[in-house]
Amino acid sequence: MQKNSVLQDTDIEINTDPCANPADTAPLPFSLALTFLIAGIYFGVLLTKAQVISWIRIQEMFHFQSFHMYGVIGSAIITGAIGVQVLKARKQQTITKQAITIRKVDFQKGQIVGGLIFGIGWALTGACPGPIFAIIGSGYSVFIVILVSALAGTWVYGRLRNRLPH
């Protein structure tokens, strides 16, 4: 729900309420900031060591020539699902004693149309957004071009959003 727009926010990756008063910035304690930075380093090492950042591995996946990427994504989903179920079964609270909530994702047409568009980009670049940052870190400076292009794509989507079917 945004100002000047009747179109609901369809972004599943946004964690804060987009309607919240822009002046309200939740504090980010140093310990939490450090935790997320370390989690990022952990994630980046894994993406690199598992060769998820390799265009060749992505091509092998789309050509059905290797199980590797299906194994990585599939086992990540299974582990994640078990973890989520454990949290639910234990009625686990967060470290700061907040209730853990799972917001429902609503279906919208963009998941199909946007999904197909992203899939094409994924095959061409061999990189989904996480690996783009990892590939730059692994020394391929030309991926800065892909990052800038992806930012341009994001911006153009934001600009055209009200005219696209959702």
Binding site: F36, W55, V105, G130, I132
Partner: protein
């Protein structure tokens, strides 16, 4: 003894370790893991242009910017400290197919004939990098998430629209692999 550290890690080690971040983020601070939204936060911070999609308080998502900065650092560490110089293994039919398109060098799994500053000015390099990057940015936001947001987090939480999105990611990728790449490589 530490050879495993320097060799590529198998899927059954890396996959579960990656998946663990989903419950971990929920437990740490009720967060939903998702990387492509960082592109939106950067747009919101740098060029919002009064577009409603970018006028939200991106500062509340600083943690995600830090996470992604960590990914960048993690890749530097893994590439420079945890990688032994070894030849990159590739499926033999893919190798033959790529060789037919004069793609023969792929140190660390990225074909330098395709992804380099020099090839940016070739048609295939331009399409794979500039057009491909644009589609990644446009498509992920239109879909509302990417491989981490929809595939790993969404499906882990049994969100069926995320499964639909993930199937479409795969279909789009297969379409590009069989119907676009053969003509531009």
């Amino acid at each position: 003894m530490f050879d495993w550290l320097f060799a590529p890690w198998p899927w059954y080690v890396a996959g579960p370790l990656l998946g663990l971040t989903v419950p971990l983020f929920m437990w740490i601070d009720n967060k939903r893991l998702g990387i492509s939204s960082v592109l939106r936060h950067i747009c919101a911070a740098a060029f919002p242009a009064k577009i409603p999609f970018f006028t939200y308080n991106w500062r509340n998502e600083r943690w995600n910017l830090l996470f992604v900065f960590g990914i960048f650092i993690g890749a530097i560490i893994a590439t420079n400290l945890l990688t032994a110089p070894a030849s990159f293994e590739i499926n033999s039919s893919l190798q033959t197919y790529l060789a037919a398109h004069q793609i023969t060098q792929y140190p660390r799994g990225l074909p330098t004939d395709l992804f380099s500053w020099h090839s940016l000015f070739t048609m295939r390099g331009f399409i794979c990098m500039v057009v491909g990057g644009f589609l990644v940015g446009f498509g992920t936001r239109y879909a509302g998430g990417c491989t981490s947001g929809h595939a790993i987090t969404g499906i882990s939480q049994f969100q069926w629209p995320s499964l639909v999105a993930t199937i479409c990611f795969m279909l789009g990728g297969i379409l590009a692999t069989y119907c676009i790449l053969p003509f531009i490589l």
